[in-house]
Point group: C2
Chain length 216, copies 2
């Protein structure tokens, strides 16, 4: 009995994962609003009512899709970067791996968060709020590396955190722009890495510069 | 008779202008696709068939809206910048006025082109092609200033045009991002101007730097 319950719960979890894996890809191409429960049900081979058993509303589904995109960001960008020491090395890894996340094979339709932000910025409500919360989490992670880098003497004390975050946001958005609008992922990735290099050099102390000059 | 025809033609032109002025505002908030002929007809107090007399299809209307946004860019950004000498001074003016265009009162919903680009990047067809053409025109204008600035000795010879355009695109997109998603137009405008200052200093020769150091 217990085993049966556990099995059903595991199956429900696996189905939910399968739905979200498909939904995040569809949303990266068509946008969150255009990702209908009907299309999604067809794409995963379920009935609409079967899908509603997992997500009570379109809003709940959209929030779960945002969380799925964040899970992918953790898996592909944040966790691998944690292999490097906090401060400038981890900051470099986070920005560098974010370029792969935005231009590589994680999403069919380019960086999910760039598309979602432009879609949701004029809306109100729980979905927009969740997106802002996720983007705050990312900004906080970059901020923590700046602070650690300053404490370790790798980053100059006069670097203004908000200004750095603004330029890093621009790098990420321009990367998606060239990749999606200009349809040139190779150029997007090359220009983004050149911009990251310039940005990190502009904030590094001599100790930090020595790290950046190290062969990769 | 001739006078009557001319008057009717002038009236048709004025009506078309009125429709486009409203359409570009609605599209800046809701997106091009969501700007329906029905809603637009209601907003300008016309019948749907009356509106179709001016735009034969939704596609034609969308292209006309893109052209209207470009007309506003010419009026608010490009023409005032032409008061300054070609090269670094005009480059500075173009980027600076673009910040006002994106964060000021020109559009109700933030920079029209940032929103349109994210909406259209996954689509195919004449509307996307027109957008890319307009953005190429803007890039060409920046490129011409870089070349002129190099010829005049204001900009370093080793500055790579594509890299500069990438960073300038990032500045513009981050500005719209902070303005729309963070809903902080003042911060967007302040950070964008700081980034423009840093970017121009990074490409200027001593002659160019002297211009940038001049009190505004």
């Amino acid at each position: 009995m217990q085993t049966g319950l556990r099995r059903r719960s595991q199956e429900a979890h696996a189905t939910r994962e399968k739905i979200l894996a498909r939904a995040v890809q569809i949303a990266s191409v068509r946008g969150l609003a255009a990702t209908s429960i009907g299309d999604l049900a067809e794409a995963v081979g379920m009935s609409k009512s079967g899908l509603f058993a997992h997500f009570a509303s379109k809003e709940q589904l959209e929030i779960a899709v945002l969380d799925e995109a964040m899970r992918l960001l953790r898996q592909h960008v944040i966790e691998p970067s944690e292999q490097l020491p906090a401060g400038l090395p981890r900051l470099h890894a986070l920005l560098d791996k974010d370029v792969d996340y935005a231009t590589g094979s994680v999403f069919e339709g380019g960086c999910f968060f760039a598309a979602a932000a432009h879609e949701l910025d004029g809306r109100e409500g729980a979905v927009r709020d969740r997106l802002v919360q996720i983007l705050d989490e990312w900004d906080d992670l970059l901020k923590a590396q700046l602070q650690e880098g300053k404490a370790k003497g790798e980053i100059r004390q006069d670097v203004v955190v908000d200004t750095f975050l603004f330029v890093a946001t621009g790098m990420s958005l321009a990367c998606n722009w060239v990749s999606q609008l200009r349809r040139d992922r190779a150029r997007a990735s090359r220009e983004a890495r050149a911009m990251i290099g310039g940005l990190l050099r502009s904030i590094a102390t001599p100790v930090g510069t020595a790290f950046l000059d190290r062969p990769a």
